[in-house]
Every structure is written in structure tokens, then in C-alpha cells.
């Protein structure tokens, strides 16, 4: 029973990682950069939803939608203002900019919402629990896992079936050739950031529904873990982010339960190191082919 309990908790935590990892992996796949500010967009999304619920009296769904809208705009702005001018610059410059953007967002949150942790209000997401035999499953767990499945299905439909989705795949495979085929690369990259950031808002709400303490650094650790998950699954690959995220969540919970609570995070990163040693491209990553 404890095993099943841990497994379900792991799947739930892993689903949150997977949703965040999607943002990393899509941006990496299409813009070929690591957006280290992604974790902080989660935090902003959670704060906006928190304000919606606590101060503006919005119903939960509306609060989530507002958070998604704010994060979408934020994502597009960050890309347009900070990353786009560096499109031709060395990747290191872009990486440093992303880290700077991460600190900027954290400190802006500190300015706006203060350093005191906020307690995330209860919503339909975490208001009840279901008794399955001896198993007690919280609604947050169920909603998180369901949300993950819905997002994965919708996203793969979008990427594989729609015109814009196909344009994204093209840009990811060969930006130059896509551009010469008449695909607007800047617009495609903006769209990628928009989708990734909207998903980050959802992840923020789900995260705070399970772990209801909200502070300006809330997004950092899940952000890093989700990045690990994306690399673990093979960065740039959408199914990879999904599998990497879920596995990482399960490994983390099992590690904490059966090995050591303190070493939970260390175990997660140890797994990453082992995977990278054995298969440097991640579980589903394809070997990189250099084009001359």
C-alpha cells in the first residue's frame, strides 16, 4: 500500500515536472537555447493565480486563465526583449542573459509580493480526496495527472497536425531551410515561448495546490528539476520531456521514501549524471548531426 501511495505521489510530482520540462524542451528544440528563467515564470503564474483567488475574488478557473494569459505575455516579452536581440550571439551570452532574467523575475516578485511566504488558497484542485480501498488519493494528485495527460495529447496534436505546429517542427530541424521556405522564424519562436509560458502558469498552480507555500524562489528548484527531467528524457524531444518528468518525479519520491529523505534531491541529480554518462543525448534524444 505504501508502495502504491508513493507511486501515485511520484506520478503526480512527475506530472508537474513534465509540464514544466515541456517549456524547456520546446524552447530548446526550436530556439536552441536554455531558458533558465522558465522556472521563475512558474512562480509568476502561481502569484498571479494567488492574487486572482485571494484578492480579486476570481473563481479558480478564471484565476488560472488570467495566470496563463499573464505568463503568455510575459514569455513573449522576455523572448522579444532579452533573447531576440541575441539571436546571432554566442550561446553563452544567451545563457547568461537567461540566468539574469531569472534573477530579475525573482527580485521583481520580491518587490511586488514581499519575502513572506504566502499560503496558496484551497480550490477545487485540492479540496477533496478519494478513498480507494486503503489508498487515499488527494484531488490535487488526480487533477495534476489528468492535466498532464490532456496537455500531452493536445500538444502532440498541435505539433503534428496543425500548420503552425508543423512550422515549429521545421524550425527545430533546420531554421535556415524553414526560413527559405517562407516560415517566419521569429513568430514561430515567440509562439513557442507563449505556449511554454502558458503551460508554466498551469504548472505553477498545480505545484502550489500540492505544496501550498508560495515565495519568490518557489519556481527555482522545480525549474532546475524539470530542466534535469528534460535533459534526462532527451532535450528537444517532447515525449522525452514527458517520460523524463514522470520518471524523475517517481525516482525522487521513491528515493525520499526508501533511501533517505535528505538525499532525495541528490538522488535525482545522481540519476541524471548516470544517464548522461551512459547515454549523453538522454533517453529519447537523437544523436546530434553536425551539418557542414
Amino acid at each position: 500500500m505504501i508502495f502504491l501511495d508513493n507511486l501515485i505521489n511520484g506520478l503526480s510530482l512527475g506530472s508537474i515536472y513534465a509540464i514544466i520540462a515541456l517549456g524547456y524542451t520546446m524552447v530548446y528544440g526550436i530556439a536552441k537555447m536554455l531558458n533558465f528563467a522558465h522556472g521563475d515564470i512558474i512562480m509568476v503564474g502561481a502569484y498571479v493565480a494567488f492574487c486572482g483567488l485571494q484578492y480579486w475574488g476570481l473563481p479558480p478557473v478564471a484565476a488560472i486563465l488570467v495566470a496563463m494569459a499573464v505568463c503568455t505575455v510575459l514569455g513573449i516579452l522576455i523572448e522579444g526583449l532579452a533573447y531576440r536581440p541575441l539571436r546571432q550571439a554566442a550561446s553563452l551570452a544567451v545563457l547568461i542573459t537567461a540566468i539574469g532574467m531569472s534573477y530579475l523575475l525573482q527580485n521583481l516578485a520580491l518587490m511586488i509580493w514581499g519575502a513572506n511566504p504566502k499560503s496558496f488558497p484551497r480550490t477545487f484542485i485540492n479540496s477533496f480526496s478519494i478513498q480507494l480501498g486503503q489508498l487515499n488519493v488527494s484531488s490535487a494528485t488526480i487533477v495534476t495527472i489528468l492535466a498532464n495527460i490532456v496537455i500531452m495529447v493536445a500538444l502532440s496534436l498541435f505539433i503534428n497536425q496543425t500548420k503552425v505546429g508543423k512550422a515549429m517542427r521545421c524550425v527545430s530541424e533546420d531554421r535556415g531551410a524553414a526560413e527559405l521556405m517562407g516560415i517566419n522564424v521569429n513568430r514561430t519562436i515567440s509562439l513557442t515561448f507563449a505556449i511554454g509560458s502558458a503551460l508554466a502558469a498551469i504548472a505553477g498552480v498545480l505545484l502550489c495546490s500540492s505544496y501550498p507555500i508560495l515565495q519568490p524562489t518557489t519556481g527555482s528548484m522545480p525549474g532546475i528539476k524539470a530542466f534535469t527531467a528534460a535533459v534526462f528524457g532527451g532535450i528537444g524531444s517532447i515525449p522525452g520531456a514527458m517520460i523524463g518528468g514522470v520518471l524523475l518525479g517517481v525516482i525522487e519520491i521513491f528515493g525520499k521514501a526508501y533511501i533517505s529523505t535528505e538525499l532525495g534531491d541528490a538522488i535525482v541529480f545522481a540519476v541524471l549524471i548516470v544517464v548522461l554518462l551512459v547515454k549523453p543525448t538522454g533517453l529519447l534524444g537523437k544523436p546530434i548531426r553536425e551539418k557542414v
Binding site: 496534436l157 496543425t162 500548420k163 503552425v164 508543423k166 526560413e179 527559405l180 517562407g182 516560415i183
Partner: protein, 286 residues
């Protein structure tokens, strides 16, 4: 222009070369599809291409030849706005490309293939062609996700268009194959189909026959002429296979060390001592 009677082309007289800097043109009364004026580009002080002047008429097949490193692909990159020229201008149908993006240039009607094939390997053959049709698709994201009737109508139209284009090279039965798994020659042909899908006025082919056997090259030659006739477009090609260049190109421009050293018809080029020395002569030695 597409309604021009077929005969028109063969009736058009080749205009005698008026100056050293212009390739023979099909019809002087029409605005040329491509005109470059004193086009040049420098990379860190090195003049990769200098004072490049070329005019291509509406349905002309022209060749750009020269030894390795002469700057041929650099010219293609300037024509498609991958590189911004340092000097001079590129005019497509009389419109100056200055300040335009790659996408805008593509919308004006330039399409190209690459020396090293750049297909979207993980997509199917049909998807690759449809990417070329990208800017001709008219449905929004929502009809795409929710499969509204508009989506299906467009899908059908696109499928038919893609098949029609693949038919040029008889590649319909390969439509569902992954592009990266095709044999080399087929990949080259698919790249041409993909470029044609963007509805170009000027098609740039960068070494279309590279890696093809003589039989495939011969077929390609026929197909290049067929494409020109069927789509009424101009074609500019870079090629090292002289049988193809001499066989299909009506005007040839020879580049060496970034400078045009000769222009003219196949016969004129073959007889030109400068070309023989710089290009053909060198090839024999090597």
C-alpha cells in the same frame, strides 16, 4: 505570364549580348525575373564576390559555373537574403530586395535547393512538400485543432497539390516515406519539389546533379526543362556537371575568385579561352 502560348518561348530571339556584363536575355521588353547590379560581399575585408551583374529573363534557364570556392553559393545566399550584400542590389521582378527578410524574399518568389541537402528528415515526403505550401494555407489554429470543415477542405486541397507536385518526378508512391530515409537522388529531387511548392518565379538549384549517376543526371536535365515549361519560371543553377550545364542552360555565367570572367551561350563559353584557362583547363590538370 503563365498564359503565354508555349510557342512564345521558342519564337523569342536571343538578344545579342549588349555589353560584357549581361547574359543573353530572352525578351528585352519584359522586366527580368532577376537582375543584380554590382552585387558584392566582403567577409572581413575579403571580397568573396565582387561586381556581380546578372540578368535572367522570365523563362530562362541560366547556369552559374566556376571552380570550387569561386563564390557561387555565396551569390545564391545573397539572392535569398541569407547574406546581406555589402554593395549593389538584387532586383526580383523589378523589386529591390534591400532591407527585406528571408521570408519576404521567399514570398516575392525565390526558392532554392541546397548543395548539401537540407530536407526536414524526420518528416514524411508529403509533409516536406506541404511545408513549401505553408504560406498558401488558409486556416486558423482553431480549425486545425478542432478539425472544422474548413480544415478538411484545405487538407484535401493541399494533399492534391502535393501529389501533383510529386508527380513531376513520379514520386507519389513515396509520399508517406520519411524524407531522411530516401535514396540520395530522390532526396535531391524532393528538394526541388519542395522548392517548387512555394510557387516561385525564380528557382535556384545548387548542384542539383551532385551525387547522381549519368542516367539520373540525364533525367534531371529533361525534368529541369519540363519544370520550366510547365511552371513558366526562370531557373538559375550551379553545377559542376558540364554535360548538364551545356545541355540545358541557355545562358551561362562563369565566376572565378568572386569575379565574373565570362558570360554567354554554351558554345561561346566552351570556346572562350579565359574560361578554358581558369576553369576547364584547371579541371584537366586536377
Amino acid at each position: 505570364m503563365s498564359q503565354l502560348p508555349k510557342k512564345h518561348r521558342s519564337d523569342t530571339k536571343m538578344v545579342p549580348v549588349p555589353s560584357h556584363s549581361i547574359v543573353p536575355e530572352r525578351d528585352v521588353n519584359e522586366i527580368p525575373v532577376l537582375e543584380t547590379r554590382h552585387l558584392g560581399i566582403e567577409f572581413g575585408g575579403l571580397k568573396a564576390v565582387d561586381d556581380f551583374n546578372l540578368t535572367i529573363g522570365k523563362t530562362e534557364i541560366a547556369g552559374l559555373i566556376g571552380p570550387n570556392g569561386a563564390g557561387k553559393t555565396t551569390v545564391f545566399n545573397m539572392l535569398t537574403k541569407v547574406y546581406e550584400p555589402t554593395t549593389g542590389a538584387v532586383l526580383i521582378n523589378g523589386k529591390d530586395l534591400h532591407g527585406m527578410s528571408i521570408v519576404q524574399a521567399s514570398k516575392l518568389g525565390i526558392a532554392r535547393t541546397f548543395q548539401n541537402i537540407r530536407l526536414f528528415d524526420k518528416m514524411t515526403v508529403e509533409e516536406n512538400v506541404r511545408i513549401g505550401l505553408h504560406n498558401q494555407i488558409k486556416y486558423d489554429m482553431f480549425s486545425g485543432i478542432f478539425r472544422l470543415p474548413r480544415y478538411w477542405k484545405q487538407e484535401r486541397k493541399q494533399h492534391e497539390k502535393a501529389m501533383e507536385l510529386l508527380d513531376i518526378f513520379g514520386m507519389q508512391d513515396l509520399a508517406d516515406e520519411e524524407a531522411g530515409s530516401l535514396p540520395y537522388g530522390a532526396q535531391r529531387r524532393l528538394e526541388i519539389v519542395r522548392a517548387l511548392a512555394t510557387d516561385p518565379k525564380l528557382l535556384l538549384l545548387d548542384e542539383p546533379a551532385a551525387g547522381m549517376n549519368p542516367k539520373e543526371t540525364e533525367e534531371l536535365m529533361e525534368n529541369i526543362a519540363k519544370i520550366r515549361d510547365q511552371f513558366q519560371i526562370a531557373i538559375l543553377l550551379i553545377e559542376h556537371d558540364m554535360s548538364l550545364v551545356m545541355g540545358v542552360c541557355e545562358g551561362i555565367c562563369v565566376l572565378n575568385f568572386g569575379k565574373v570572367i565570362a558570360k554567354g551561350t554554351a558554345d561561346e563559353i566552351q570556346a572562350n579561352p579565359v574560361v578554358i584557362e581558369a576553369y576547364l583547363g584547371k579541371k584537366k590538370e586536377g
